[in-house]
Assembly symmetry: C2
Homo-oligomer: 479 residues x 2
């Protein structure tokens, strides 16, 4: 039985143990390096072989997902020491569990032969998941080692686009015909010895592999053995087309509380199945991508990536923001004369721009979410516009008065206070209009409104806020 490390606390303890062993190991190595009395390797043998052996035994008892966790949390040099200690026949499973960035570092440390060996314990759908990261020659070697049926599966799994049901499905389905009794099914199952994980139902197909129904395992248990499959099977059920989008299938799993579901081709031939664990992984991954991109990271970054790699991962976002900052800067530049006359404008303008951006982001968060859930119709879009304008109007009056008062109290200039209030109100209205329009427009153009909306609204409320505030001030305050 494997050791499980369920809680974060247990995992941190594990990590500390591993790190301590590696530290001691490194320390000993340094000692050995410093004193040259014996060849380094002999000393190493004597000093810490025992420690590493203990670590290896520890690792063997861990679930692949937990080994993956340890690998991800270790700096590169220590990561590779641990990776070398992991038994070769578990390499494949662990490569599946680590993040893309860490997988890259592990694969880079392996030679062709090791990589081919790593895939040997994997199912074809799992090989397909790894394939994009493997060198071309390795894939060719792997391909040769597969049976005809497996090659067909691998080809199929790799042919579907990344975000489709086909890319998430596996091939571990149990199939039966509808004209046999449950008795026969049971005998067949007993011959299997063990059923694939997440088998809550087996699939009833005809000679052409066309899906006729589902036979829930629980129904087999509670029905009499002499009944026919066709009497017991479920005839209406959720099925997915392999070309369907993965996120829609995930939403269906969530709404209908599924554990597994059949995946068919356009001709209703059963080609695979989708399981809830693939869905959970998928949901987590999309969530990760969303959080990373909201934070301005292009992709998952190895915690201990080199400085250069990190800079590359982050530069797009910074560059885009730099361009919008330059534009905002030029907007301010156009009003330099006004600022020279009334320098308080310079101190006050970031308030207008900042709060506008915050308010716009609130609106966008709402709309993007509603779009993702398919909750917005043409008609409700109009209602949302009205509502968001109302919210902005009210916020504009409230917060506009606050900032107006702030300006008045500091600069003792009531006209300046009024301009602040008016600018705040107008910029919040701008934020509301844009906050609703940008995601709706992006959606209409077929782009993902979650990506880039936030940068765009901030750019608009920044430049727009500066323009409104400095423009009003130039009209009414400066002469």
């Amino acid at each position: 039985m494997e050791q499980r490390v369920d809680t974060i606390h247990q995992r941190e303890q594990l990590l500390q143990q591993v790190t301590a062993i590696l530290r001691r190991h490194k320390h000993d190595e340094e000692l050995a390096d410093r004193d040259h009395r014996a060849p380094r390797e002999r000393v190493e043998d004597l000093l810490h072989k025992r420690d590493l052996e203990r670590l290896q035994r520890e690792l063997e008892r861990l679930h692949p997902a937990d080994v993956a966790y340890v690998l991800e949390a270790l700096p590169l040099d220590e990561r590779l020491i641990v990776w070398d200690l992991v038994k070769a026949d578990r390499d494949g499973e662990i490569l599946l569990e680590v993040s893309d960035a860490v997988r890259e570092t592990l694969i880079a440390s392996m030679d062709e032969q090791e990589l081919v060996a790593a895939t040997e314990q994997l199912d074809t759908d799992e090989i397909a998941d790894l394939a994009p990261d493997l060198p071309r020659e390795v894939i060719q070697d792997v391909f040769k080692s597969l049976s005809v049926e497996e090659r067909e599966q691998l080809r199929a799994a790799m042919s579907y686009p990344e975000d489709s049901v086909g890319a998430l499905m596996d091939f571990d389905m149990v199939e039966v015909r509808e004209d046999v009794t449950l008795e026969v099914v049971l005998r067949y199952l007993r011959r299997l010895d063990e059923m694939p994980d997440h088998t809550d139902q087996i699939f009833v197909v005809d000679r052409e592999d066309r899906l006729k129904g589902l036979l829930p395992v629980n129904r087999i248990l509670v029905s009499l053995p002499e009944k026919l499959v066709s009497e017991v099977m479920v005839r209406e059920f959720v099925e997915f087309n392999a070309n369907e989008k993965a996120d829609e299938a995930a939403a269906a799993f969530e709404r209908y509380d599924l554990v597994s579901a059949p995946v068919v081709e356009d001709d209703r031939r059963l080609v695979g199945r989708m399981t809830v664990n693939a869905v959970v992984d998928y949901i987590r991954e999309s969530q990760d991508i969303e959080i990373l991109s909201a934070g301005g990271l292009r992709e998952d970054e190895d915690l201990f990536a080199s400085v250069w790699k990190s800079v590359k991962n982050r530069w797009t976002w910074l560059a885009v923001n730099l361009v919008t900052a330059f534009i905002a800067s030029r907007v301010i530049g156009a009003f330099e004369q006004s600022i020279a006359q009334l320098v308080a404008l310079a101190a006050l303008m970031p308030i207008i721009a900042g709060i506008g951006g915050n308010s716009g982001n609130q609106t966008i968060t709402m709309i993007v979410r509603a779009l993702a859930l398919g909750q917005i119709t043409r008609d409700s879009a109009r209602k949302l516009f009205v509502k968001e304008l109302g919210v902005s109007m009210l916020n504009g009056v409230i917060w506009g008065s606050v900032v107006g008062l702030f300006a008045f109290l500091i600069y003792h200039n009531w006209q300046l206070g009024l301009v602040m209030t008016a600018a705040m109100l107008l910029n919040l209205l701008l934020a509301a209009v844009m906050g609703v329009s940008i995601p709706l427009l992006m959606d209409k153009l077929g782009r993902d409104p979650a990506l880039g909306s936030s940068v765009l609204i901030t750019a608009i409320t920044d430049s727009g806020g500066f323009f409104i505030f400095l423009g009003l001030a130039t009209l009414f305050l400066v002469r």
Copy 2:
């Protein structure tokens, strides 16, 4: 069989159908209102009763989750018309599926009796989920209608904190003793007629309800009926304590690909089970909360909430940001004399502050994520500091040169360009130090680093950026 609406496209079509019927209904009503020849209700009867009846039939065929979707996507008045059409015996299930904000509007439209009736079809763990939103008298009535065992369950379910395993568990577990044969188990199961959803295993307990092992349904199927439960059962498995944190249990479900798991009390008595569908819902909800709070919404907002409710939901974030904006404004205010002398400073300063904020948020996103995964040890924290400082140094040199060049090209003042470059570099270093320290510090203080870190870093890089840039300018450019 229920109608399933799996894809977003199908759901949008459904929504459009419903809206069209409601629109016609409303239009007819307005006509009837305008011409007063007949009492309004009679006209209503004649005009659109048929339409609404069709809608009611449509709704009956929908899965509760899909009815919930329709309700969430409709404005309040139309939502309540649809809600009235839904059969009373489905109210409970649907209330469970809608978002908190929408649930509130639905419950507000129901009287005490309807609410008590709505809970009648629900399991005790589901009643516990609804309870916080129900009026006190309703809960008392519901309580009276339950059996002693159910009362005990309800009390138990309600006694666990919101984010604990106990709050997510259900009580639909099948229990057997270890000293019977599989034959006996099978006969017992057949008597149940149907097994609870997500029963991939049944629980083996002793006389005191202490958990002895798990009997996977698949093992029952593939084993010989004359075997004893104790021979077939699994003795080592993942179990959760009811007081454990829900997110750790969810992570375990994800890593070990579980479908269900036993929940025990401190004395190892089996008190419930956790299923993967509860985990999926939980993951989605936490994801939602994270997205909402990152966008500055305090909680889930009904898409068609009143302006006043929306303002209340959003004001905290705006207020906090206003305070940080005021502080930044005063930092600028301290340098008004320098700005008056060199007004270009006003146009350039938002660039320094903005890019600093962006870079800081990138760092924070990485660190918060690593903390959530438990990947950071004291030792690796130091490594991360060094790495982030390196990234900032490199970014500072690259982007600092770009903005320096930009300043030089526009203002033909090379000293100004140098100050820009230096300020950018320093502000990015500040962002790196704070981006690592803030989440680590919040974590150490036992607070959730995901909440508020982003506001804090932006506040620091704004005020800090203004201070660094204007300070350097005052030292070297202005006299």
